[in-house]
Amino acid sequence: MLLLDKSGAKADVWTRSEGAAIDNISHALVAWEALPEALQQKSRDQRLGVIVPNNVSIAELKLVLRQLSLVAVSFPSFSDGRGFSLAKLIRNHGFTGTLRASGPLIADQFAYAISCGFDEIELPDASAGRQPVEQWLKAVAQISHGYQRGYGDNRNILDQRRAARAAGGAV
């Protein structure tokens, strides 16, 4: 597994638990099915994360978001884009913890993932072996600005045009 964010490869502080057995793991990552039980066992200073399938019900997930420090959204394949919309929904429901995309994404999706609210990507070895970190860092910067408002910062083209108009610029 390779874990990376916009700055490059990073160490994974999270440990996958066996079922709901989070014992005294400081950062425990549990499967969606095991979450209710893990939440009951969670101690005050323990951090809990969950791995959710990309068809998880947002109505159910939103009820537990405040108790979670990390949500890992599974991408069964790079071409299944549900995870992008799910990330957006999770952020729109106010989640401020770490959002992780987990699966065989490709470097060309890195910028999209970040724009939709993901912080980091967890890649299986087979993908990471072919697509080293440098390719991801290059790919993420290939398109300077997108057109969509509400996806990340206000560096999108529409907001830049608006700022230029406000400043009396000639855009």
Binding site: L89, A107, Q135, H145, Y147, R149, L158, R161
Partner: protein, 556 residues
């Protein structure tokens, strides 16, 4: 028309550089073929039967002369001297080499063009009424909306890996010339009866292909300012809920059909209500900035009807027929919108040579305020002509084989490339179109028959829109032999209708005869000035089926 600003320019240049890098990563093995495929498709590069095919976006079908000349140049330098205009108002080159494609993309970027999202499971090239800005029945020009959607949908972070392709069309007129009801989303600009505010009627879930469906209205009056937030809500529901287990059930039409339009609408409205509109929508100043590019050109003050035109028509019956068939009334007095037929008898529908493109570019520059359009019916339009210039234009077009007087007639056939080019095709389309054209080549007979749309697809994917042809022809393959299924009664207008199958499939050589029988029934049965489709509506399918059956029996 719209011009790129510094942001648009950089965006397109960066996309070209990105594609070069993607090709390099495929070649060095970083990307597998499976990973590379959607990346090349989203840049318009297909692998076809004989070669790569490159599909160039012509956003809402609008071009200027410089762009068309560049397309002519690309056709000569990198292809075989011609291009093919498609039903999505794009242009396809059938013979480029993969290694040349980044250079072609650079040439396109030089004239503010690109191939972004002309294929793949993403939001495709946005289409609009080809008489936008000039039609007499127009409430508002749809092109500023289409341009806003072009920008918004380009490399969308959330909606670039959809279950399936997604097509949006916009019209601002009463008469629908953009086939919006056969689109995943169809937008119609209309006035609210009480507030008189211009709004969108939003239809979702239209589409052709294996399971043809007419779009259903999900919002009667969407305020214009809310467009992008509403589109975001529709796309999010589709991206999350659309089927991904079967590519033939993955279009939004299937989702709408399976959960019902009420439930689909409820989910969209719920998501829309939760969105923070002001942080998503384009602000009014941005909408106005785009709209300003589409302000009407400065027309001369002219009498309603040109005396020069009337005189030349009187002296030249062939010219008069062409004017009558190929021109459309214009908003501005003394002007007209001319449709140039790319359907001369016996040629591949929608093909244009580089020489022809240059001539049309010259005419657009000299006579049409430097503007032209591509229609979904695979023809070209010069939208701003003085009526008095028509005779000169007709003569010049005639020299280039572009003066066919058949717009809307039986030989103005829509056809996909079919088995002559396409890797998906199950049967030929172009030769069928040519055979029908030859059978009905006689000008007088065509005019006697009047408006009749024949649409031909070479496979179930229905790129040739056969479902919504007055007469539709679908080419299939049965036990190694091409078989053509005929449908009747389809319509592509605001009364969009899916045609019904007339009977068993026919061999290729029997298709023109079957069309002949169907037309004979119409000519025998029509009342007054009734058009073909009006007769079909009044008579029902039975008399046509009976005539068709005779052909089917004769060949059985």
């Amino acid at each position: 028309m719209y011009r790129y600003d510094e942001f648009d320019e950089r965006f397109v240049r960066e996309r070209v550089a990105q594609f070069r890098d993607q090709v390099a990563r495929r070649l060095d093995g970083s990307l597998t073929e499976d990973e590379f495929k959607p990346l090349r498709l989203k840049n318009g590069v297909y692998l076809q039967l004989h070669a790569y095919m490159l599909r160039i976006a012509v956003p809402y079908g609008t071009l200027n002369s410089r762009q068309l000349r560049q397309l002519a140049l690309i056709g000569e330098k990198y292809d075989r001297g011609y291009g093919h205009f498609t039903t999505r108002t794009n242009l396809q080159y059938n013979w480029p080499k993969l290694r040349d494609i980044p250079d072609i993309l650079d040439l396109l970027a030089d004239v503010e063009m690109h191939c972004i999202q002309t294929s793949g499971n993403c939001i495709r090239n946005v289409t609009a009424d080809h008489f936008a800005g000039v039609a007499q029945d127009e409430i508002e020009d749809p092109r500023p909306t289409a341009e806003l959607i072009r920008q918004w949908s380009s490399l969308h972070p959330e909606f670039s890996y959809l279950p399936r392709k997604f097509k949006i069309a916009v019209t601002g007129a009463e008469h629908d010339r953009a086939v919006i009801k056969a689109h995943d989303i169809g937008l119609r600009l209309r006035r609210h009866p009480d507030t008189h505010e211009i709004c969108f009627e939003v239809s979702v879930g239209g589409g052709l292909g294996r399971t043809p469906m007419i779009g259903k209205v999900v919002r009667d009056y969407l305020p214009k300012a809310d467009l992008l937030a509403y589109l975001e809500a529709v796309m999010r529901v589709y991206n999350l809920e659309g089927r991904r287990d079967n590519k033939y059930k993955a279009r939004v039409k299937i989702l709408v059909h399976e959960i019902g339009v009420e439930e689909f609408t409820r989910r969209v409205e719920e998501e829309f209500a939760r969105l923070d509109g002001p942080s998503v929508n384009a602000d009014p100043a941005e909408v106005a900035r785009i709209a300003a590019y589409f302000a009407p050109p400065s027309y001369e003050v002219l009498p309603e009807t040109s005396r020069v035109l009337e005189a030349t028509k009187a002296a030249n019956p062939a010219f008069a027929r062409w004017v009558e068939t190929n021109t459309t009334p214009h908003k501005a007095p003394g002007y007209t919108a001319l449709t140039i037929s790319l359907k001369p008898i016996g040629e591949a529908p929608g093909d244009a040579t580089s020489e022809q493109m240059r001539l049309v570019a010259d005419l657009a520059e000299q006579y049409s305020h430097d503007e032209l359009r591509v229609t979904h019916a695979q023809n070209l339009v010069l939208p701003h002509l003085r009526q008095r210039d028509l005779f000169t234009i007709w003569q010049k077009l005639g020299e280039a084989g572009l003066a066919s007087a058949n717009i809307g007639l039986i030989t103005d056939i829509i056809a996909c490339p079919g088995l002559d080019y396409c890797a998906l095709a199950t049967a030929r389309s172009i030769p069928i179109a040519q055979a029908i054209q030859r059978r009905f080549a006689d000008d007088e007979r065509q005019r006697l028959i009047g408006e009749l749309n024949i649409k031909i697809s070479g496979c179930i994917n229905a790129c040739g829109h056969h479902h919504i042809g007055h007469i539709g022809i679908l080419g299939l393959e049965k036990r190694g032999i091409e078989s053509y299924q005929i449908t009747l009664g389809g319509e592509a207008t605001e009364n969009a209708t899916i045609g019904e199958i007339l009977g068993p499939g026919l061999a290729a050589e029997d298709v023109p005869d079957a069309i002949g029988r169907i037309v004979d029934v119409y000519l025998a049965e029509r009342q007054g000035n009734e058009s073909f489709i009006e007769s079909v509506r009044r008579l029902g399918l039975a008399p046509f089926k009976a005539a068709f059956q005779e052909v089917a029996n004769a060949v059985a």
